[in-house]
């Protein structure tokens, strides 16, 4: 476990990793829109328990959780006292990790918000 944590800490972070969680949200949102639009336009209806949709949503949440977990480990890298505002590798890592972590929370909330309508609306009208 500790070795895993060490490996995670050494994973490189960048502006690209920062946007992984919201990108997953965007992908899930697009998936939601297309799923509903295609079902309604081409089939005229969708299933009352849409397996595909649930699977896509769970997958999105898992990806966001993974990105968030990695970021959490990295955000807690020991060293450098707070307030973490120095021009050091560690503080820069920690900043990006905290921002990623927060974005993961927001993205997860976003996915839950997006998926909620499927529980309430069950036809194409």
């Amino acid at each position: 476990m500790r070795r895993l944590v060490e490996r995670i800490r050494r994973l490189s972070v960048s502006l690209w990793t920062l946007i992984v969680p919201p990108t997953v949200w965007a992908g899930h949102f697009l998936f939601s829109y297309l799923w509903a639009a295609l079902n309604c336009a081409k089939a005229g209806r969708f299933a009352t328990f849409p397996t595909l949709y649930v699977a896509g949503t769970v997958l999105a949440l898992l990806l966001i959780a993974a990105a968030g977990a990695i970021a959490t480990v990295q955000a807690n890298t020991p060293g450098d006292p707070p307030p973490h505002e120095q021009s050091t590798d560690l503080d820069r890592l920690r900043f990006l990790a905290v921002a990623t972590q927060l974005l993961a929370v927001l993205s997860a909330i976003g996915v839950v918000f997006t998926a909620t309508p499927v529980a309430f609306l069950t036809d194409c009208r």
């Binding site: 307030p83 909330i109 839950v112 918000f113 909620t116 309508p117 309430f120 609306l121 009208r125």
Partner: protein, 345 residues
């Protein structure tokens, strides 16, 4: 109120002179400046004065949202004031971050989620059965083609929607030329009328009376002058009205001099009057024109003078109107046609 009662008593068929109708669309210039809020209470075209189930539930939602918004805005203002007035160092970094997390993050998330969950069921349209009344409305620049109960025995009309109270009605909306939007604020939310598409709005009126609807999607020069009358009737009165309307409408005044002029000026090239040779669907159907409360799509009170003036110079009332001007027509002819049309009941 007066008008509502009269419609109820008289089955709506002769209510065109009801007082509220008479003021709909009356052109008053230089009106006095009424007090700000007192004036703001019309009862025939307002989302705050519902006469239908959808609009009523939306009004409740509106009030809840407004109260919440006022409370939140007020607390934010007070909080900001407090934050600015507090001397420095009273709030530590950690406390500050807790404020951001709870007041800026967690609290809004919970509130918004609750709001979302509460609003989603309201989005579901009421169920429609094949037996329910359907009304097809098509938006044209700048009037409304209304077909009540499309199919055999359908009733074609223009600029007036009649519907029974207490019954589910499905209104099928389409755009004839450009995009319009169909809005009866007191009945339900609006729905766009888009060329090539048919949108269905499911409504149920609860209170008989005369109301007004308008076009809410910008549709050209006279977008502001594209309204229509709405008459909600008791079911029995509605059924009676339907039965009475289906027949030819010209019997009362076929011999009127205006009838011949109507034909001679080629009005039938665009307009239809049931029971006569005029059967074109390009312009508004004029059958039983005299029963309508307003003319020019909810803009002018139904008077002979207004009708005659509109025939000769429609663009004076409605810029950009598709109907050609008949400015060469002698006024007497226009009045005769107007009299004929008004006699169609």
């Amino acid at each position: 109120m007066d008008a509502d009662n009269r419609i109820r008593q008289e089955g709506g068929t002769t209510a065109r002179e009801a007082t509220i109708d008479a003021i709909i669309g009356r052109r008053v210039t230089g009106s006095v400046l009424p007090a700000l809020l007192l004036a703001a209470c019309n009862r025939h075209q307002s989302a705050l004065a519902p006469f239908g189930a959808e609009a009523a539930s939306t009004r409740t939602l509106t009030i809840v949202l407004l109260v919440a918004a006022v409370v939140i805005a007020a607390s934010m203002t007070l909080l900001m004031r407090h934050a600015i007035r507090t001397p420095g160092e009273r709030l530590t970094h950690d406390q500050g971050m807790k404020l951001v997390l709870w007041a800026g993050g967690v609290f809004p998330t919970i509130l918004l989620f609750a709001l979302l969950a509460a609003s989603l069921p309201l989005m579901r349209p009421a169920p429609v059965s094949p037996a329910d009344l359907r009304i097809k409305v098509e938006g044209e620049q700048f009037w409304w083609r209304v077909v009540t109960a499309p199919g055999p025995g359908q009733l074609v009309s223009a600029n007036e929607v009649r519907l029974p109270v207490g019954r589910t009605v499905a209104i099928d909306l389409a755009g004839g030329d450009v995009i319009h939007s169909f809005w009866i604020p007191g009945l339900a939310g609006k729905m766009d009328m888009i060329p090539g598409r048919i949108n269905t709005l499911v409504v149920r009126a609860d209170k008989p009376g005369r109301y007004r609807g308008v076009c809410t999607e910008f549709c050209g020069l006279s977008h502001a002058l594209m309204a229509f009358d709405v008459v909600a009737m008791e079911p029995a009165a509605f059924d009676g009205w339907m039965a009475g309307q289906r027949g030819a409408s010209a019997t009362a005044s076929a011999a009127a001099p205006g009838a011949a002029l109507f034909a001679r000026y080629g009005c039938g090239g665009c307009h239809a009057i049931r029971g006569t040779d005029a059967a074109s669907a390009i312009g508004p159907d004029l059958s039983r024109y005299g029963n309508r409360a307003t003319l020019a799509a909810g803009i002018l009170p139904m008077t002979t003078a207004n009708t005659a003036a509109f025939i000769r110079h429609p663009e004076a009332t409605k810029p950009g109107v598709r109907m050609p001007a008949f400015d060469h027509m002698p006024e007497a002819d226009a009045v005769a046609i107007a009299t004929y049309l008004q006699g169609l009941k």
